[in-house]
Amino acid sequence: MNEPKPIYLDHAATTYVDERVLNIMLPYFSEVFANPSSFHTPGLRAKEVVTEARSTIAKLFNSRDEEVIFTSGGTESDNLALFGIIRAHAAKGKHVITSAIEHHAILEPLLHLKKKGEIELTILPVNREGLVSVQDFEQALRPDTILVSIMMANNEIGTIEPIADIGRAILVWRKEKATPYPYFHTDACQAAGTLDLDVEKLHVDLMTVNASKAYGPKGIGILYVRRGLKLEPLVIGGGQERNIRSGTENVPGIIGIAAALKFAQDEKEIENARLTKLRDRLIEGLLTIPKTILNGSQIQRLPNNVNISFLDIEGEAAVLYLDAEGIAISTGSACASLSLDPSHVILATGLSYEAAHGSLRFSLGKRTTAEDIEHVIKVMPDIVAKLRHMSPVNLDMKYFA
C-alpha cells in the first residue's frame, strides 16, 4: 500500500521551525554559547545578540526595548501577567475580567486565584461567532477592576477579538475615573504570525507572544510589559530580565523568536492573502457535506483557521480516520482531551454538546498547498459517511441552533 502524502493541518497546535530561522539559531548553540551575564568577551557577545534580538522585537511591537521580557513560552507569559499584576496590585482591587474562550493558560490560573480567594472573576460570554461584546465589557468594569485579559485571536475557532476597541474603552474608563486601572493584557500567541502586534494601536499594557506557533522554536516566549508597570515575579533568582524573570537567557531561543516574528510580520500580507484563499476554499468544500456548520466568525477570522462541526460523528474517531489518510488535524471532542467535557470554546459559542463533540479544526500553514486542500475536500465526505453509517445517532439540525 502506498503511504499517503502527509498533510499537516494542525499549525494552531504548533508549527515547524522555518529553515531560515533554524539556520540563524544554529551558531548560538555551540559557537556563541556564553552566559550573557558573564563579564568576559564571549559573554559580552552573547549579551549583544540578546540586545539586538530584543530590539528587533521591540520594533515589531512599536515598543521600547526594555518592555520586552523573555520567558519560556506562552503559558509562562500568561501566568506571569496574571499572577504578576494581581499580586503586585492586590491592595488596589481584586476584580479581574476575562472571556469564556480564553486558553487554559489564562482560565486555569484565574480559576485557581479565584478559588484561593485572591480575586473576584467576571468571565464575559461570547456570541455565536465567538466575539466578546465591548458593551458587555464596559458593563462588567468595576472601580476595583485591576486587570483585564482577553485573547487577541482564539486558538480553536480562530475568532479575532476587538482588542483595540476594548483597549479604547479602558482608556476612557481610566480617564473618567482618574485611575491607572485596570491594566489590559492580551494573549496573542495565535495571532503572532498573522496580525499586527503594534501595542500602541492595540492599547494593551501586557501582551503574550510565543514562537512555536509562528515558525519559531518551542520553549521561548515573550511578555510585553508596558514601562512603569509593577509585576511580582514568578521566577526569582539572578535578576535577569529586569528582575521580572530570572534565569540564564535562552540565547538560541531568543535569536529564534526574534527571527521568526520578523519573518512572519514582514511576510504576513502576502501569506495571509494566500492562506485566506485556501481557508475559504476548504470551508466551502467541507460545508457541502450535509449537517455541517462553521464554528467561529466568517469575517473576524484568522486566515489559517477552519473549524467545522459534523453532526452525528464524534471528533476523535474522525481524527483517527483522517490520520490513517495522512491528514493531521485536531478536534474539540471530549474524547481527545484530558477532561470529559467537549471544548469550552465551542460550548461558549452556544453550540450543543452534541455538535461540540463533532467539531474538527483544520489549521493551515506556510507549507499548505491548494492540492492539499483539494485532497482533504475529496477524502472527507467518505470518512464522514462511514462514521455516520456506524452511528446510531441521527440528530436534527436544531442541535446547531
Partner: protein, 228 residues
C-alpha cells in the same frame, strides 16, 4: 522504553485486562487490536430493517459523547446469542470496544445469555490489549447495552423473571445516589472525593455517607486503574 500507559497483549497487566496507570498526562495511542477493530469494525449494523424484530438495547447519548445500540438474535432452545449487530457514536476506543464485544459474544457458537451478562469491560479491554487510562470510560457502555438487549430479549419472550434490572445500593439516602453512580464517576476520571462530588453531589444531602463514599472511590480506583 514503551509507553507505560499502553500495555502489550503479552504483558501480565494485559492479561488482567486492566490499565496499568491512572496517570492522565500521557498514553494516547491505541494497540494494533484496537486499530483493527476501529478501522475494520466487525458485526456492525448495516441493515436495521432486517433486525426490526430482534431484541435491542441502547445506552448513552450523543450529548455525553458516547451512544451505543445493540441488536441480538438468540436461539430459543440454547439461549445462545447467534447474531449480534451494533451501532456506536463515539471515539476510536468506544467503536473498537463495541466491535470486540460483538466478537466475544458470538464466537465459538455464541455465549449463552447468562454468560453474556457476565461480560465485563475489563474482559473486552484485555482482548484489545489494553486501552489508554483516560479511555477506559469509553469502553464501559458496550456491556451495558448488551445487558439491556438481553433484558429486552427476555421481555419479548415473556420470561419476565429473567429480567435483571441494574440497580445499585443507595449510599446517599437524601439524593438517592447509588454505589453504581460512584463507580461511573470514578470511571469518568473522578478519583478524589471533590471530583466525585462535582459529578454526583454525593454527600451534600447526607454527609454521614462520606466515609463510605471515600472507601468506594478507593475500591473502584483500584479496580479500574490499578493500585497506586
Amino acid at each position: 522504553m514503551s509507553d507505560p500507559n499502553i500495555i502489550s497483549p503479552a504483558s501480565t497487566d494485559a492479561r488482567q485486562g486492566d490499565v496499568v496507570t491512572n496517570s492522565k498526562d500521557k498514553g494516547w495511542f491505541y494497540t494494533d487490536a484496537v486499530k483493527e477493530h476501529f478501522f475494520h469494525p466487525k458485526n456492525f449494523m448495516d441493515n436495521e430493517a432486517e433486525y426490526a424484530d430482534a431484541a435491542m438495547g441502547m445506552v448513552g447519548s450523543p450529548a455525553c459523547g458516547d451512544a451505543m445500540k445493540i441488536w441480538i438474535k438468540v436461539s430459543p432452545e440454547t439461549h445462545r446469542i447467534t447474531d449480534l449487530k451494533w451501532k456506536t457514536f463515539g471515539c476510536g476506543s468506544a467503536i473498537a470496544s463495541t466491535s470486540m464485544m460483538s466478537v466475544m459474544a458470538t464466537e465459538n457458537g455464541g455465549k449463552t445469555l447468562e454468560e453474556a451478562r457476565k461480560l465485563r469491560p475489563q474482559d473486552i479491554m484485555e482482548r484489545l490489549g489494553g486501552l489508554p487510562a483516560r479511555k477506559v470510560h469509553c469502553s464501559v457502555l458496550g456491556d451495558k447495552a448488551l445487558r439491556a438487549a438481553i433484558n429486552d430479549w427476555y421481555r419479548r419472550n415473556n420470561q419476565l423473571d429473567h429480567i435483571e434490572i441494574e440497580t445499585g445500593r443507595i449510599i446517599d439516602k437524601v439524593l438517592k445516589i447509588t454505589d453504581h453512580d460512584i463507580e461511573e464517576a470514578v470511571l469518568d476520571g473522578a478519583l478524589t472525593l471533590d471530583k466525585v462530588q462535582a459529578k454526583t453531589k454525593v454527600g451534600t444531602g447526607d454527609p454521614s455517607c462520606i466515609p463510605e463514599v471515600e472507601n468506594l472511590i478507593r475500591f473502584y480506583k483500584e479496580k479500574y486503574f490499578g493500585a497506586e
